[in-house]
């Protein structure tokens, strides 16, 4: 355990990247995450890492493919429009089962949008913005501390499952400074054998091939079955945080920055005598459906808060499966609600908890 430091989320993440033994970073500048590239460039030479600013996000994700396929820990980072450009590459990486880390410091969309914090890329991250049936393992930090922590976890999970891992943060988490303590982590203790990597066909082994092409549909279906089986195994990695859910009447569900705001709102509500709780998913894929289901058996309603028009709320509804009403409150396009606003949205909904869920989406 090191001393607590005050660091920007992007920089804490970058520092963790180096400490996690990442060997190669390829990226292209985009606000609000360019500090990751900048921090790594500054450190690269001395700390023995390949850090390359390249011509585009497209190039970056495909270089990650190459480097990850060559057996090293590799990563890229970007923000929303840049991540959209990586969708083909991500689908390839997931299909070829290459472990790597991709960071999306989400900003307000759609289009060029704003550079302010947003959670508008939830669907893209969790359902697969690229083509075909694949999944990223998606981690959602809510603090500078987790910006660092999830890098270590991310690389470990990527190697464990040979699957791309995405850290889905937002502009505020990237830009803000907060206390961070780097965990003890020696990459050597976390090395995974990668006998499949293209490092040169030596030692009498068969040649290694990294590919996602299986022109025979029978074969491609086998690949898909294998992937689906892997995704089922990944369900055990589900992570979340519960706050005051034991006796809660209404449980708020939120992740990342929105969860911090909800946490304050829950405290404020409790002070007012409202029995509020909070479920904060830390993994967005796999999603804590089981916990949602469990909670929905004992609460009067769930209230989802997101920095978008209502995306994760679908996963909450899938988990709740009609047992209690699910309501939604969101801000969009880079706007951030205050805890007061969130609390007001909860209070406004408490009266109507028996409405039909689908009509209840509200937009502040």
């Amino acid at each position: 355990m090191s001393e607590p430091l005050l660091m920007k989320g992007n920089e804490a993440l970058a520092e963790a990247v180096i400490r996690a033994g990442c060997r190669a970073y390829f990226g292209y500048p985009i606000t609000p995450q360019s500090e990751i590239l900048e921090y790594l460039t500054a450190e690269a030479r001395e700390r023995g890492m390949v850090v390359l600013q390249v011509e585009s996000e497209l190039a970056a994700i495909n270089m990650v493919y190459g480097a990850a396929g060559a057996g090293v820990r590799a990563m890229t980072s970007s923000s929303s429009p840049g991540i959209s450009l990586m969708q083909e590459g991500l689908s390839y990486i997931a299909s070829a089962e290459l472990p790597c880390l991709v960071v999306n410091v989400n900003r307000g969309g759609p289009g060029l949008g704003t550079i302010q914090p947003s959670q508008g890329d939830y669907f893209q991250a969790t359902k697969g913005g690229g083509h075909g049936d694949y999944r990223l393992l998606v981690l959602a930090p809510d603090s500078v501390q987790e910006m660092a922590d999830f890098v270590f976890d991310g690389f470990d999970l990527a190697d464990k499952y040979r699957n791309p891992v995405m850290i889905l943060a937002d502009g505020a988490l990237g830009q803000m400074m907060e206390k961070v303590v780097f965990r003890e982590y020696d990459p050597k203790d976390h090395e995974t054998a990668k006998p499949w990597a293209t490092t040169g066909k030596s030692g009498g082994r068969e040649r290694n091939i990294i590919t996602s092409l299986h022109i025979q549909p029978e074969k491609m279906e086998d690949i898909n079955k294998h992937l689906q089986e892997k995704y089922r195994k990944m369900q055990t990695e589900v992570r979340y945080e519960l706050i005051h859910t034991d006796d809660a009447d209404i449980v708020l569900v939120a992740y990342g920055l929105a969860a911090r705001i909800c946490h304050s709102a829950v405290e404020m509500g409790r002070n007012k005598g409202l029995k509020l709780g909070l479920l904060r998913p830390k993994t967005l894929y796999p999603y804590p459906y089981d916990m949602v289901r469990e909670l929905s058996a004992k609460v009067k309603g769930m209230h989802v808060v997101e920095l978008n028009s209502g995306q994760m709320v679908e996963d909450v509804r899938l988990g709740v499966n009609g047992k209690v009403p699910v309501t939604f409150f969101g801000r969009m396009g880079g706007m951030i609600p205050s805890p007061e606003e969130v609390l007001a949205s909860v209070e406004a909904r408490i009266a109507q908890l028996h409405d039909e869920p689908r009509e209840e989406q509200i937009y502040a």
């Binding site: 607590p4 005050l6 606000t31 704003t114 550079i115 302010q116 914090p117 400074m177 907060e178």
Partner: protein, 185 residues
């Protein structure tokens, strides 16, 4: 107790590092702190600002739009953020850099002759520390001692010879407010 403070000015005036120093001082005192800069192309032309929150409780969002205190180092910042100060909050500004003074009466307006004071110290760069000293004098968010400790962290080793002058600036800033029983207009 939570303090939400905005620092604003031109880039190059040390606005961001002023905020960072305060945040670090909060950390030194074991408080919860966050520091959040404005970023983006509206920052073209060299304006810069950041929000520092120092609290005894976990901080929810580092992004707030109304502040307990605003420290403005130039004229556009006064114009832009005067109305973002919470009622009964503080607006402190460099009176040497502003022609149009703030006009609100429901807040405490504190003009600080920071530029002059920095000139007296023969180092224009420490204007920000003069302001910070004044601010901490008006509103004890952290102690000056913690700020001095923080400075040693924020400043890279190669600038540590400047610690002393910064310390002085802080003290001068503190003194300015002490001297003026009522705000200097």
């Amino acid at each position: 107790m939570t303090h939400e403070i905005l620092f604003a000015g031109f880039g190059g005036q040390g606005v961001l590092s002023m905020g960072m120093t305060l945040a670090y001082a909060g950390l030194v005192e074991g408080k919860e702190v966050s520091w959040m800069p404005s970023y983006g192309p509206e920052m073209r032309g060299g304006t810069a600002n950041c929000v520092v929150i120092i609290s005894t409780k976990p901080i929810s969002s580092p992004l707030v739009t109304r502040f307990d205190a605003v420290l403005a180092l130039n004229q556009p910042s006064v114009l832009k953020f005067e109305h973002a100060v919470k009622p009964n909050g503080i607006l402190m500004y460099d009176s040497d850099a502003c022609i149009i003074p703030p006009s609100r009466t429901d807040i405490t307006v504190v003009p600080v002759p920071a530029e002059d004071e920095a000139r007296k110290l023969n180092n224009m760069k420490v204007k920000n520390m003069v302001m910070l000293g004044s601010f901490l004098s008006a509103c004890e968010v952290v102690s000056i001692a913690s700020v001095v400790k923080a400075l040693a962290q924020v400043l890279p080793e190669r600038y540590h010879h400047l610690l002393e002058i910064n310390h002085q600036a802080l003290l001068r800033g503190e003194q300015l407010v002490v001297d003026a029983a009522t705000p200097i207009v």
